[in-house]
């Protein structure tokens, strides 16, 4: 019981740090509010779909960045989708890097696109690791593992 309380506290702290460090925004809370006993793993299921979308889009962007000359419209279209997905789960830092990439597409700056894409991938990879660790701990802590929003 004591161990469970401790785990739940750890989950709450981990969750709060994701917001405090800017990895997540309010949209993540909106998803949490849709989770209940009839859909107890809703947030993790949606985030898993996000990983799937992201893998596909990252691969498409990588392929498109290998072509010469660069097709900025296509690159922008892929990144628009990736930004939309990231925004839907509250991935704040990833969303910011996506916006930067799209700026470079708009100005036809290929080097800027290539450089920023590395940042997009880095932020995505960091977010994914943090979320995977969070959900794993939440599962260990049990049904109340996803603690309520701190006041």
């Amino acid at each position: 019981m004591e161990r469970n309380n401790q785990l739940q506290r750890q989950v709450a702290l981990m969750r709060q740090s994701l917001f405090d460090q800017g990895y997540l925004d309010e949209q993540f809370v909106q998803l949490e509010e849709l989770q209940d006993d009839t859909n107890p793993n809703f947030v993790e299921e949606v985030v898993t779909l996000y990983y799937r979308d992201s893998a596909r889009l990252i691969a498409s962007i990588e392929q498109a960045l290998d072509k010469s000359p660069l097709d900025f419209n296509k690159l922008d279209s892929y990144m628009h989708q990736f930004k939309g997905s990231s925004s839907s789960i509250g991935g704040r830092k990833v969303k910011t890097e996506c916006s930067q990439f799209r700026e470079y597409c708009r100005t036809g700056n290929g080097e800027g696109c290539i450089r920023t894409f590395q940042q997009v991938k880095r932020e995505y990879s960091t977010l994914r690791k943090k979320l995977e660790a969070y959900f794993q701990l939440a599962r260990q802590a049990g049904p109340r593992g996803a603690a309520s929003r701190s006041t």
Binding site: Q30, L34, D36, L49, Y50, S77, H80, Q81, G84, S88
Partner: protein, 161 residues
Amino acid sequence: MSKQVAGAASLPSRSVGSGKAEMGDGTGVSSTTAPAKKKLSVLIVDDDLMIRTIHTILVSRVGGEVESQVAENGKVAVDLFRSGKSFDVVLMDWEMPVMNGIEATKELRNMGVSSMIVGVTSHSMDTEKDTFMAAGLDDCYEKPLSIKILKDILQKMKIDA
């Protein structure tokens, strides 16, 4: 995608939907049975499974008698209407393969569909939203929708009905 139905149980035929049963003379069931309250039906049109999942749960959570169905692109949505199905509200994404939201909205309006069609898009600029609105939308919001916005949309539906 399977049809999603809101969690609430069906109401009996002398339902309180119209309020008449509650305000009746108390002498029992009238000879003519009041029709069951019609559920508000929502069609979620989006090629992204993640968005379809979020909006399906959102609709089920908005409360009241609401049910939803999904379509993965504009053509599937148009074909549903062509097959005789009708929906009170259509949540229409913009960018979709096969038939996008603009084409689908124009097609539905050309067919005489008068359902409320709400654009739901990650295009955030006013000029972009204007382009989408011009296709025949009743309103346009950024995705994903929130419970508050969806409730407002459905509330407008009930007032107009």
